[in-house]
Symmetry: C2
Amino acid sequence: MANRRPRIAVDAMGGDFGPHVVIPGALHAAKTKKIDIVLVGDQPRIEAELNARGFKGQGVEIVHAPQMVEMEEKPSEALRKKKDSSIQVAVNLVRDKQADGVISAGNSGATLASAMFTIGRVPGVERPALATFMPTEKSHFVLIDVGANVDCKPFHLLQFGIMADVLARSMLGIANPRVALLSIGEEQGKGNLQVKEAFELMRMSSLNFMGNVEGRDLFTGDVDVVVCDGFVGNVVLKQSEGLASSLGRLLKGELRRGFFGKIGTMLALSSLKRFSRLVDYAEYGGAPFLGLEGICLVCHGASNSKAIANAVNMAARFVDGNANEHLVKDIAANINLTVARKKSRHSEPAGSIEPAGAQEAAVPDQTP
Amino acid sequence: MANRRPRIAVDAMGGDFGPHVVIPGALHAAKTKKIDIVLVGDQPRIEAELNARGFKGQGVEIVHAPQMVEMEEKPSEALRKKKDSSIQVAVNLVRDKQADGVISAGNSGATLASAMFTIGRVPGVERPALATFMPTEKSHFVLIDVGANVDCKPFHLLQFGIMADVLARSMLGIANPRVALLSIGEEQGKGNLQVKEAFELMRMSSLNFMGNVEGRDLFTGDVDVVVCDGFVGNVVLKQSEGLASSLGRLLKGELRRGFFGKIGTMLALSSLKRFSRLVDYAEYGGAPFLGLEGICLVCHGASNSKAIANAVNMAARFVDGNANEHLVKDIAANINLTVARKKSRHSEPAGSIEPAGAQEAAVPDQTP
C-alpha cells in the first residue's frame, strides 16, 4: 500500500452544497498531492462539473451511483432502502479494496452506519470509534469516542485510546502522544466504575498514559488524546460548540445594546469566532471513524472546498502512514488486557457493577 | 417550620478566607432577612470577629467546634478523624433539628460526605444529588447531578429531575419548570441505555418533561432543568469553567501580542468574565445538595461575603418555601415509577443491559 498512491473514494453528492463544492475540493487534493480520487455519485452531474472546470482527467475516476441520501433522512432507512446511494457505493469501494478510504460530507449517521456494516474491522478491534480534533490553548487534542459507541465496557475505552494514539501519531505528528482518560478528578480512583477500570487497563497498556484529565483541563493543551465513551464525548463536543455559539450571541446582543461600543464587540467576536472555528471539525477536514479496514472520514455538512481537500489529504496521510498497520500491531500488543477483561467478572458493561456501598464510597472524596 | 424564622448553620471556619469573610456574609444575611444564624467554629475567633464588628447579638448564635477540616484534606479521613470539625458540628445541628440547613465554603467533599452520612434522607429519595445553576443566554438552568452520584440507574435520574424541579420552583420562581434529559440527540430513542429508559420514566412522570436536550442547546435558555448522572454533569460543569478560562487566557495572550489593541481585548475579556462568573456557582451562593432532611449548600472556597450572604439567603428561601415538603409530595406522586423499575429487569444499573445487536442498533441513527 505504501508503494502506490493512496486512493480515496469521495461522496461527490454529499454536503449542503453538493458536487459544486465537493468536486473542486477533491480536485484540489488530487492536484497538489499524490492522491488518486474516485468521485462517486451521479455520473452526468459529476462529468458536467469536471467539464465546467476544464478538468483533463488525470488521477480522477468516476463511479456512478444513481441514488443519494438526503441530509435529514433516517440513517437506518437510508441503509436499508438506498443500496445504490453515493455513500453506500463509495463505502463498497473500500470493502472491495478498490479504495483505501472514503470521505463524505453527506448524512453523517448514514455514512457511519454504512461504513460500520460494510467495511470489515481491523483485526482485534471490537468497536470502531469516531474521533475528532479539538482545540487547545496550544494546539489540538484528539477526543475519542464522540458518538459511535454510547454504552461501553472499560476495555473498549482502552482500544479507543490505542486507536486515537495512532491517529495522533499519523495526523498530529506527535511521536509519543500523551493519552488521558476523561474523568471527574485527577487521582486514580476518581470517576465512575467504567472509568476506574479503564484507568487500570490503560495504566498496564503500552500507551503513554497520563492518568485522568478533568473537564476544566481539556483545553490547556497538556494532553494529546482524551478518551471517553461516545455518550460523554458527544456531550463534550456539542457543549463546546454550544458554549461558543451562545457566547457569540451574547456578544452580538451587547453589540446591539451598545454595551461595549461597536469596535470592542467586533473585536471580541472575531476572537471568539477563531476559537469556535477550531471546535468545528470542518476545519480539520473531518472526523475519522477508526478501526475499520480502510479509513472513513465524516465531514461537516457545511464543508467548503478547502475542508473537503483537507479531508482527502487527511485520509491519504492516514493511508500513506500505514496507520492501520500500526493499529493492528498496537491492538495486538495489548490484547491480553482486553481478552482477560472480556472474560473476567469485571467485563460487565459500563457502570453495571454496583456493590453495596459503592455509592457511599464514591461520595467522601468527591470534590465538585 | 413556616411559622418561625429559618435557622441556618454556617460553617464559620470554611472557605479560603475563613471567619473574616464568612462571618460578615452571614451577618449581612441575618440583618437584611428574617433568618436566624448559627455560627459554628472556634468560639474565641468567632467572638473576636463579632466584637470587631460591634455586633450586638440579635439573631446570631455561636456553637463551638474545636476542629477544622483543611481544604486539601481527604474527605473520608476528615469524616473519620475530625468528629468535632466545624463542618461536622454544623451538619449535626441539622440532624438534631437545631437548624434547618447548613452552608459551608470549606472542603466541599467533606461537606457532602458529612451531610450524606449524618442528615437523614427525605422519604422516598434514594440518592441525594448535587445541583448547580448554570447560565444561559436568557437566564439560568438547574443542572443535576454534578458529581454526587457517578453510577446511576434510570430511576435515579427521574428522582434528580423531581428534586431539581422543586429547586427551580423555589429558587428561580418558575411555576412549571421545563425539565429535560441531557442526551446526544433530541428524539426519543437517542442516548445510552440509561438515558433511554430514564426518558420513558420522565415521560410518564408528573414532570413538565420536554424530552432530550443536546450539549449544544444547554445555553440557549429553552429549558429550566437539565438532568444527567453525576459523572456527565461534573464533566459538563468543569468543561464550561475550563472553556471560559481557556478563552480568557487566549484573549490575554492576544492582548500581550497586541493583536487587538489593548482596548478591544479588555472589552472582550470583560464580556467573557461576566459569562464565566455566571458559570461559577459562588455567584449563586452555592450548590444545593438536595434530598436530605434539611438543606445543605456547598459554597465555592473563594466565596466572598456577598456569596456567603447569598448562600444563607438561598438556604432560608428553600426552608421558607417548604421545598422539602413539596419534594416529599412529588417523590411520592411518582413512586410507582421508581418502585416498579427497582423491581423490574430494567432496573439494572446504568448501561448494563446490552442485548446482542444493541451496538448495531445504536449506530444507524447516530448523527454526531
